[in-house]
């Protein structure tokens, strides 16, 4: 049946040609240019470009920032999803709608607003000056920008799971005298863990690649607040195309490995859950 019905619906070649043309021109061709350009660099120069001290420092800034932002957003994402699914309160629709903003707000707009807000004269930056804190133009600023752009990811992953969760088991455990923390840890957490892991992965991956919102607030000091995408930008402006290519390939390799690990972990969690 499968064989005979394979191409019963008309339009196979039509859709095939359009799809292949689109994928080839927009995705395959430019990526092939990247791989070939990387190949032409040569192994020794590749290694040097990929591991010089300024580049290594930029990896560290990007990874550290992404990790901190992912941890914070996983925590608050869980909190927001919980509040939105479990409680009734005035302004609930507003909170829910606001969460969509970072998906749609242009990164340059977010970037200048955050840089201004958290600078020493800004509405919020001013408040932390007496404490000796600085946010804009430091590592803290990078984390703030990363938190902003990835704010909805974890919430939107966990929300549907919490909505569908049948709490009768949990309530039974509660009436039988189980403590709230035990119930949350033993009964609720396993249900939402796969979504939590995939949300964390999405946030981390997006933070690593983020550029627009970060450059305005980061200060962009080599070795301290320079993220890898910005370093690629600098290399391009200096017409150092091979240097930019090397960094791009390292970033791609890292993010593919990372998402592979996250996917495998998530699949394992889902299987274990049954």
């Amino acid at each position: 049946m499968q064989q005979t019905s394979k191409r019963l619906i008309p339009g196979y070649y039509f859709s095939l040609v359009i799809t292949l043309l689109g994928v080839s021109l927009i995705v395959l061709l430019p990526f092939a240019a990247l791989v070939i350009s990387g190949w032409q660099v040569g192994a020794q120069q590749f290694w040097q470009e990929a591991t010089n001290s300024r580049v290594l420092a930029s990896y560290l800034v990007s990874i550290k920032g992404a990790l901190v932002a992912a941890i914070i957003n996983t925590g608050f994402g869980l909190l927001l999803a919980w509040v939105l699914t479990q409680y009734e309160f005035p302004g609930k629709w507003l909170l829910d709608s606001l969460l969509d903003l970072p998906f749609a707000l242009p990164t340059a707009v977010a970037g200048i607003a955050l840089a201004y807000l958290f600078s020493d004269q800004g509405w919020l930056g001013r408040l932390v000056v007496p404490l000796g804190w600085k946010i804009s133009y430091t590592f803290n600023g990078i984390v703030i920008a990363m938190i902003f752009v990835t704010l909805p990811f974890v919430v939107r992953e966990i929300q549907p799971v919490l909505e569908q969760l049948d709490f009768s088991v949990q309530e039974a455990a509660y009436t039988l005298g189980g403590g709230t923390s035990t119930i949350l840890r033993r009964l609720v957490l396993p249900e939402i863990l796969p979504a939590l892991v995939s949300g964390f992965g999405l946030v981390f991956a997006r933070c690593l690649g983020e550029y627009g919102s970060i450059v305005f607030i980061a200060g962009n000091q080599p070795y301290h607040t320079e993220i890898t995408p910005l370093l690629i930008m600098f290399k391009l402006e200096a017409h150092d195309y091979s240097g930019a290519t090397v960094l791009a390939l390292v970033m791609l390799l890292f993010s593919f490995t990372f998402s592979f690990i996250i996917h495998s972990w998530q699949r394992w969690l889902l299987q274990r859950k049954g």
Partner: protein, 266 residues
Amino acid sequence: MQLLQTKPIKWLLLVLAWLFIGIVLVLPVGLVLVQAFASGWHTYLTTISSLVTLQAINLTVTATLISIVFNLVFGVSAAWLIAFYDFPGKRLLNALIDLPFSVSPVIAGLIFILTFGRGGWLAPLFSAIHVQIVFAPPAIFLTTVFVTFPFVAREVIPVLEAKGREEEQTAALLGASFSQILWQITFPAIKAPVAGGLVLATARALGEFGAVAVVSGNIQGKTLTLSLLVQNLYNDFKFNEAFAVATILLGSTILVVLLKQRLLKN
């Protein structure tokens, strides 16, 4: 549900949630509005109606429209192909469609420089016919199409796969033509995801910054999109003007978010 339903805990969590959203979301957006009008209505109106701004609006809207048309044609074709037929390499095709989502915007720009820029593969071809791609509007259109590439396909494929192919197969057996099947059977079923994908693509295209910044060359009146104009004004310390232009983007963003929620409800 008694779990965490005691009043103090509920209020504590609610206050925390609003505080967090207030600091990282509401204040930045409020600041854009306040700063845009900080030098008065007159400056605001002069800024957003200046020639540079209008040219930037023109370029941004053109890039967005091109992305929308591409997304519609490509997204529906790809979904049709993937949902209705079995062929080798389907998983690979799926992965390739998703690829632009997992790439940093800066890398998205870089790959087009490497393809069309000085020393790129296709550079000789385009210089022979005197068409400039990089540091000109075509590269801005290409990168915008790239960063929005998967949106419609991603939304439509699961819906079409869940719907199944039986209706289309029956119609084909009964002698319906391609366009009859497309317009009378398939399209009504995928209207919502198509619209949803287009809304997301519009938002991304309007606001794309990193990828466009790489290929634009920052030529005033020629390759400045709204986001790049915001950057230039900000870097020139014309903060209020930067925020004024930013309100155009903010306004269109809010429209897009509202549109998306409208679509989700129906």
